[in-house]
Amino acid sequence: MINIFRFASPASFYPLAGKMIPWFAGAAVLLAAAGLYVAFIVAPTDFQQGEVYRVIFIHVPAAWMGMFIYLVMAGYGVLELGFNTRLSAMMMQALAPTGAMFTAIALWTGALWGKPTWGAWWVWDARMTSTLILLFLYMGYIALDNAIEDRRRADKAGALLVLVGAVNIPIIYFSVKWWNTLHQGASVSVTSAPKMAQIMLTGMLIMALACWMYSIAVSLARVRGIILEREKNTAWVDELIAANAVNKEGVTGGSS
């Protein structure tokens, strides 16, 4: 238990994150290769939708990740507000762009799938509409984080916002679903499409894991940058820069 809290300080987390990144990146590449193999080679051509349906192997994992990352951010938000740990807020900042990206990819691939299948780039189906609102929630957090000058205040305000958003997500999803059924909108549901073959589910799960590994790798890399920028006035960062300079000097033969 004590070991975990040792890594709660940015100074100790920085090198740890650096060591972890290659592993997660490697896992992401392997899983993505496996997932894409399933998606394009193993999974059979769909009887009704042809080849286009293969986009769900990106669409569904992206949508899952968009949702999942927001919940992870909310978890960090609880840590930030409850324990006042700067690293939690930094992780939130690091995760947000990735979460927003996956949500945007989900929307875009949904449109790519919808056009040939249902004839329109955008149909107001419940899940896609909820995903759109999720994107707005991400954008709101990023905007708030950028708009507040004081760093700690921005951290805590962002944490509170993400928590409020997380609590509201089930309410929003439920209300959009109600709205959709009442208005007889189209239903771009993956499961209501031709019954999901086991192989398709497996493929999506593998891709989801790949996205997850990718998210971790990218967020760790991003948080390292955030740590350096926030801690730029501390001793350990100065030492790090000095050590780096010495290394470079050694490589180039000492010209300075």
Partner: protein, 239 residues
């Protein structure tokens, strides 16, 4: 060194309750709203003007207008409420009175609840009462007009409450008026869906009690929880 003991005021350790502070704030807010009537009336004027733009935009086909009326009136009400949100804490923040609220011995959530209540009384309530006029313009009548008022009365407190959290978080931030809109509109979606949905259901002859029940439940939950969240947001912003 002086050996005198500090004499603490009698009420220092005792719990001062909540109501005196609540009423002091409520009175002050209403007094201030009356003193700047021009500013207080702006959301209502905006409401009427923007709603009147829609027929100009989509044409005067009464059937179409009646069908879009619930949504249009609700969206315009939403936007009008949004406009008034920056007023909620901003002026107190700028002249230093907001700090005094935090330093008051009364529980901050109670004081914030008073501010939100006053905000609703000066924004949501007038909007709800004006809405029938707009409904008439759009061809709603009788039962639907009443229902429109009821949904707004039930839903606008939620708009004020959710808005208060966003307003508290964005105090003194860059571009706060647009930022509030970005933060708040996704959270307004359920209120819009059930509020406008109730009137639409009535227009289609479908039961709307579920919509009203959900709006009411939401407002009650908001009354219980939002003051604490908004108070936390204020403490964060004034740190």
């Amino acid at each position: 060194m002086n050996q005198q003991a500090l004499t603490l005021p009698a009420h220092a350790a005792a719990d001062p309750g909540v109501l005196p502070g609540y009423y002091a704030i409520l009175r002050r807010e209403l007094l201030l709203a009356m003193r700047s009537r021009g500013e207080a009336v702006q959301p209502a004027v905006f409401f009427v003007i923007v709603a009147s733009l829609f027929p100009l935009g989509v044409g005067a086909d009464t059937q179409l207008l009646t069908r879009i009326a619930p949504g249009v009136v609700w969206v315009c009400g939403l936007l009008a409420a949004l406009l008034s949100l920056s007023r909620l804490f901003n002026s107190d923040y700028l002249d230093g009175t907001l700090e005094q609220l935090l330093l008051s011995p009364y529980a901050l959530p109670a004081l914030v609840a008073a501010k939100i209540c006053a905000h609703w009384l000066t924004t949501g309530l007038p909007l709800s009462l004006i809405a029938p006029l707009l409904g008439l313009q759009f061809g709603l009548d009788g039962g639907e007009l009443w229902l429109m008022v009821i949904t707004l009365l039930l839903g606008t407190p939620l708009l004020s409450m959710i808005g208060a959290i966003a307003a508290a978080l964005t105090l003194g931030a860059r571009g706060s008026s647009v930022l509030i809109a970005l933060l708040v509109l996704p959270l307004y979606v359920p209120v819009l869906i059930f509020g406008a949905g109730a009137v639409e259901a009535s227009l289609s002859g479908v039961d709307y009690s579920g919509h009203l029940a959900l709006l009411g439940a939401g407002t009650l939950l908001g009354i219980v929880f939002v003051p604490f969240v908004a108070a936390a947001a204020l403490r964060i912003s004034l740190d």
